[in-house]
């Protein structure tokens, strides 16, 4: 066990898999010699050589396209999209190809690839370095979408994603890379060091996909969150004193619906929190599912706290970010309803 930041944990997952499995390759823009703009692949090219860890041209569609071809030829590519805001040029390859290949060939060809991308705001990145596009993947059948909220899960889920035979979209909340950020941007930065979820085994382990984690048991309401919003929700629970049960979804789709239903059936109230824009966000699916499965237990409307339906503004970042105040207000509304 060592204490790792989320960056180190993610790197460690790739390191472990590169070491264990000669078919794993890692590539993307600036990931080779330099080690990635967030340093997630730092040192891996030096360790495994340039034909296993390398830089690519700036062509997201191209790099996902070659990854699919490599997957069809027996490799297990792990590619990085430099920012989630830049996956759009690769969308056709992701949706029409990676997600459909097994189905359309009835299993004759498959593309087991993992697409990593840093997502989310809170770093003054403006509208093109802050997006959370998860709903654009959860709508696509054939894809798995995963988002960890801490170093332990990040490594375990990334290992599981690389080992998974389905294509996985692995979203990394970049604001959590260096510490468990709870939305209080005006307070001193909290590092990962010392946090129990930053205790990460150096070797191989995995966290199963499709399994949510109850981060905070509670009885007053159920909170469905993932990524940075798990920490924001914890802060909101602390600050409002409301006994929230906070579920960290970890795997967005396919989803651990059971854990959700069990909790909402118990609490009768539900708040969904995500950073992505609200309309047609993944929160909509969660709300629809919860009311479908827990209708007769619900005592208040399910609320969604989410990014506003605007691009992520640069100077108004903290008015946009769904911080503890907004989340806490929703807790209050839902418990008082």
């Amino acid at each position: 066990m060592t204490s790792m930041t989320m960056i180190q944990a993610i790197r460690s997952a790739m390191d472990v898999k590169l070491g264990m499995d000669g078919d794993v390759v890692v590539f993307g823009e600036d990931v080779g010699y330099f080690g990635g703009v967030f340093r997630c692949t730092d040192g891996l090219q030096a360790k495994y050589g340039a034909s296993r860890v390398f830089d690519t041209p700036i062509a997201e569609g191209g790099l996902v396209g070659v990854a699919i071809g490599m997957g069809a030829n027996g490799l297990r590519p792990v590619v990085e999209i430099q920012f989630a805001d830049y996956f759009y040029p690769a969308y056709d390859q992701i949706v029409s190809e990676a997600a459909r290949l097994r189905y359309r060939s009835a299993g004759d060809f498959t593309a087991p690839l993992t697409i990593r991308m840093p997502c989310g705001g809170g770093i003054y990145g403006g509208q093109t370095h802050s997006q959370s596009p998860e709903a654009l993947f959860t709508h696509v059948c054939g894809l798995r979408t995963v988002m960890p909220s801490n170093p332990y899960d990040a490594k375990g889920l990334l290992v599981a994603s690389i080992e998974c035979d389905d294509p996985v979209i692995f979203l990394e909340p970049k604001r959590l890379y260096n510490g468990p950020f709870d939305g209080h941007h005006d307070r001193p930065v909290v590092p990962w060091a010392g946090h129990p979820l930053a205790e990460v085994p150096e070797g191989h382990y995995s966290v199963p996909l499709e399994s949510a984690a109850v981060r905070r048991p509670g009885n007053a309401l159920t909170v469905l969150a993932y990524g940075t919003m798990v920490w924001v929700s914890e802060a909101a629970a602390r600050e409002t004193g409301i006994d929230a049960e906070i579920i960290d979804l970890r795997s967005l789709w396919p989803l651990d619906l059971e854990t959700i239903v069990r909790s909402v059936t118990k609490t009768g109230r539900c708040v969904i929190v995500h950073e992505a824009t609200r309309t047609s966000g993944f929160g909509a699916e969660l709300a629809a599912l919860v009311q479908e499965h827990c209708f007769y237990h619900l005592e208040a409307p399910i609320e969604r706290v989410a990014g506003w339906d605007t691009p992520y503004p640069h100077a108004q970042e903290w008015a946009y970010f769904p911080g503890p105040a907004r989340v806490g207000a929703a807790f209050r509304r839902v418990t008082e309803a």
Binding site: A59, G61, N73, F109, P254
Partner: protein, 412 residues
Amino acid sequence: MTPYPPLRLHVPEPPGRPGRETDFSYLKLSPAGAVRRPPVDVRPSGTEDIVDQLVRVLDDDGRAVGPWDPKADPQLLLAGLRAMLKTRFLDARMLVAQRQKKLSFYMQCLGEEAIGVGQALSLRPDDMCFPTYRQQGILVARGYSLVDMMCQLFSNERDPVKGRQLPVMYTSRRHGFFSISGNLATQYIQAVGWAMASAIRGDTRIASAWIGDGSTAEADFHSALTFAAVYRAPVILNIVNNQWAISSFQGIAGGEAASFAARGVGNGIVSLRVDGNDFLAVLSVSGWAAERARRGLGPTLVEWTTYRAGAHSTSDDPSKYRPADDWGRFPLGDPVARLKKHLVAIGAWSDGEHEAAMKAIEAEVVAAQKEAESHGTLASGLVHDASTMFDDVYRDIPAHLLRQRRELEDLS
């Protein structure tokens, strides 16, 4: 300031339209044997001077001439002829079957048979092809079962892709034939990735990528050229320029100001423009490109000049946008007739043998159809069970799809 006249938009027009005969002089032709044959280890810029010429082997008398003569074993040529004929018969029968509603849709490759067949015969069986919907010749040449092909076309209960795809969207990993996508061009960059994987793994298998003239405008074409050049991927980048993309002439795809082969040179890729209706040229250039790839010398791009003789698909009516008799006037002729003429000229074949071969092949296709139809057709409704629809979305069926499958089952 100088007075400039108002600007005007240039919109390319084809050299022929219904009621106005095509002027084929836009096709820059070279005489057979005229284009030099660079060594296989030619540098990326080494085909710059010949990229707009047209590599040809067969002259008008059916003789093989010049440096690109593959000096092929006549048995190989005969195998090619048979595969081309079989492909043509298959297409013809399936067009009829489509009109009979036994399949929902069909796409023939009439006039382009030499390209897929010739390249398939130049590759090793385990080299991987990433075809479009007009390379059925590859499957035929590699001996894929006609019955399996037709089962796919009929979407019946033996359809290898379980009825999930439109007709012609074959897949056969065992025959080095990548699953065809309905989305144009996507497979071009995947072929490069497959080839890169070969290089990463220290393998000796190479990839063959396919795209149409129209589809070169898509992003994946550019990605493919970039990645192939950067990593010197062992891949043959084929462009089938059959002059049309549904109703759009190749000028709309950018074929007016430069050949498609020139795109390769612009990306630092060894590139050639070749007579795609000349089976010997196809064999020769494919073999040369394969040798380059396998020797680690990097990608080769080949623009095959040919003509889409038929409609784009069974949903199309080309008489709306081009002269009806266009193919008959296409200067590079019919690839089957040209190869036959050559074989007869070298004494390896005769009209009688040809006649007999046609009959035998037709009978084989008819028999295959009969067998395939015995497993059902889309019209007959004998298709894979609806519940199979939920398989293969993921490796294992997740909970939500099990629920949906149950919902479907409960309904009936």
